[in-house]
């Protein structure tokens, strides 16, 4: 028999493989050359130092929004609001990063912290409403997304600037960008944020799996009544989970504001970093390290897809389809397990 561990590794690999095969079949069906298509994708993601840098840059916020969604999930909450939390985190980081002066050792952490706090605050609202009044977090987080979008646009135009569409750039002292990284990646926008994202993954893993707080959060996630019976404060844990989740998403905003862009433009629609985080978390099985790997997969596919139209003539949406299919296969892991088991049986 396969061990559980082996399944946990095999199933995603098979899912990705099946997704890519399905994508190839679609390309064939529409008269494209799948090999050229996928070479273009790989080229677009890793073709040279620049694209490699860009790919990793793209992965960075995905890790954080993935962690955000996964963290809430583990505590039994569905945070569709990562999107809004990213947006407010972005603004807070840029605000602190551009409007005050301080030595880097203070300024940068302060700007990052501001993002986490802003995101956390955005998570706090649905958290407290759920904890105190039992209001479903899904609706509140959806509403908070829209509020974040419109409010930040308003703030950028009316408070941070005088009717401009982008904020000022953040100061050097609050920037995650690094000349050194830029140089070795031929001026990609890769920045130090990746380290923050990876650290966040470690923190989440440690917090959830190793600490008493994590124990409580997981317990509340699985069984609210038993947790209350055992003396845990269910409401407090719900709020805490949403705040930490929002904090992670807020950090993703800081990645954009202090790293990738160095400023914040007004947005006429959602960034999708938060919504994509849902897919990342689910692909990663809501576990910290699974999320990191899923974010890489996601980032590679998304970044590489940009190269497909120019290099192979394939519409980049093909990759959306491939991602969707991969998610399906991962979700349907039961059937893959079943197939593996029957294969094994027949082999005997």
């Amino acid at each position: 028999m396969f061990s559980n561990r082996m399944f946990n590794i095999l199933v995603p690999i098979i899912s990705v493989f099946l997704g890519l095969v399905a994508g190839a079949i679609i390309m064939l069906g529409f008269g494209y050359n799948p090999i050229r298509g996928y070479i273009a994708l790989i080229d677009g993601a890793f073709g040279n130092a620049y694209f490699t840098g860009e790919t990793i840059r793209r992965v960075t916020p995905y890790i954080l929004t993935g962690l955000a969604v996964a963290f809430a999930f583990r505590a039994g909450l569905f945070n569709i609001g990562a999107e809004g939390q990213v947006i407010v985190g972005w603004l807070a980081a840029v605000w602190v990063g551009s409007s005050m002066e301080a030595p880097m050792i203070i300024h940068l952490p302060l700007a990052i912290l501001a993002a986490a706090v802003a995101g956390g605050l955005w998570g706090f609202v649905p958290g407290i409403l759920k904890a105190k009044l039992g209001v479903h977090e899904v609706i509140i987080t959806i509403m908070m997304n829209y509020i974040a979008l419109f409010l930040t646009n308003h703030l950028i135009r009316n408070v941070l600037t005088e009717t401009k569409d982008t904020t000022d750039r953040v100061l050097e002292s609050a920037s995650l960008a690094s000349n050194w990284i830029m140089e070795i990646t031929s001026f990609s926008r890769l920045h130090w944020g990746l380290l923050i994202a990876l650290a966040a993954a470690v923190i989440m893993w440690f917090l959830l799996e190793k600490t008493t707080t994590g124990y409580e959060l997981r317990s509340v996630g699985y069984n609210r009544h038993a947790s209350e019976y055992a003396g845990m404060k269910v409401g407090k844990n719900i709020v805490l989970a949403m705040v930490i989740s929002g904090g992670f998403a807020g950090l993703a905003g800081a990645m954009e504001g202090l790293g990738t862009f160095g400023y914040m433009p007004t947005h006429s629609s959602f960034t999708n970093i938060g919504f994509d985080g849902i897919a990342v978390a689910l692909l990663g099985g809501n576990a910290a390290f699974g999320t990191v790997i899923a974010a890489f997969l996601f980032g590679v596919l998304k970044e590489g897809s940009l190269n497909m139209p120019t290099e192979a003539g394939v519409p980049s949406e093909l990759v959306e389809i491939v991602i969707a299919l991969i998610i399906f296969f991962v979700a349907s892991s039961y059937i893959i397990r079943w197939a593996l088991l029957s294969l094994k049986k027949e082999g005997k």
Partner: protein, 515 residues
Amino acid sequence: MSKKGVGFLENYVVEMLNIRKEFPGIVANNNINLQVKQGEIHALLGENGAGKSTLMNVLFGLYQPEKGEIKVKGKKVHITDPNVANELGIGMVHQHFMLVDTFSVTQNIILGSEPRKYGMIDIKRAEKEVMELSERYGLKVDPKAKIRDISVGMQQRVEILKTLYRGADVLILDEPTAVLTPQEIKELIAIMKSLIKEGISIILITHKLKEIMEVCDRCTVIRKGEGIGTVNVAESSPNELASLMVGREISFTTEKTPATPKDNILTIENLRVKDSRGVEMVKGLGLEVKAGEIVGIAGVDGNGQSELIEAITGLSKVESGKILLNDKDITNMSPRKITESGLSHIPQDRHKFGLVLDFPIGENMVLQTYYQKTFSKNGVLSFNRIYDHAKKLIKEYDVRTPSEYTKARALSGGNQQKAIIAREVDRSPDLIIAAQPTRGLDVGAIEFIHQKLIEERDKGRAVLLISFELDEIMNVSDRIAVMFDGNIVANVKPEEINEQELGLLMAGSKKVGGA
């Protein structure tokens, strides 16, 4: 009832022959035979996990057996799903009720075979039919009431009506009395008797030997998946049945020395508590439990017992009054504070409250203590210690589980309960509240749990036992407090009262001299 196709020697309505059913890694039923005669009440007896429910689920078409054959009224049948069972006239009342909480009684009964009019459910007709049926068999129900608003006993009647509505003439009852109060059990027994008069045959699963002796004609015993045999109840005794079941002698009356009560551990004064709907359920109650004694609260379900427990344990708010634990006021304190003040609680609903079913057994063993120094340092858990601790408890309390890393969900009900008791008792509290600690467990497990409670008493702990089983109350308690309508209406010693009198007190009829 037609006699056509009935076996030529015996009048068997259902025959299960050489049934084998496997689950991954376990043979739940191995070559089991069960033959039920027309119009009898046939008991199915066995320890927790012996394979009773599995066998019945096979008969009801929920599981397909690996081997063996089933005959209904002499005809070989293939029961591929519950629909087939229904058509063959087999109805089952499951151990865990199969009722939709938010539906009305009528809706639950007609679900799947609704009377219609113009494509709509003809709810008027349905209600009328339910009323007729309930009158005919003496199963009183309110057809319009929502399931979640009615008592467990009432729910059970709905379950039975459901099968009758579908025209069942073979009725499987899987542990129907485990969740009932003595009054309700009495009513159920009367109902069963009237059902067999109507020509219905019943298969009854129960762990209560007394019930078997009282109503059953024959009894089939299974042990660890193997059929042990079938006996005529009239020619047998509880002792014989029990030893057939577990393979050894069992003592029924719990051995214990007289209690030596000391200081007050729990003192409750003038307590008032409302339920979640705002109805006052505990109405100025007073109670004392001393160190070294077991106080049993006897009472019919719904007289405020749940609210009382929730108030003591901090799970619901006290309106007024006082609760003292070791002379310390714990009224309206948080569950955590109360636990730390020396209280343990074996909850009534082990799945809802007692366990996090998706946690490993090991993590469940520290549900209230994970944050304490023993198991964590600076907020970081020490899994080595947690699992060592769990290992110790598993051994000490004989919790049957593949390992301490196994999810609680995978354990049998009895073993889940043992795990909870291990956790609660091991904390060495001053007061143990045990709410229905043996519900649904086999006699072996019951014996073990009773012993544990008495041991703790002897160590000088106070024990508050809440149970709807008069046997349990009479056997285990040193003092019985009878609860009726939100108040303690009597305080008696078990040796000074018989079950009859106790039953009257519980029904609120009159006061008997207290102790």
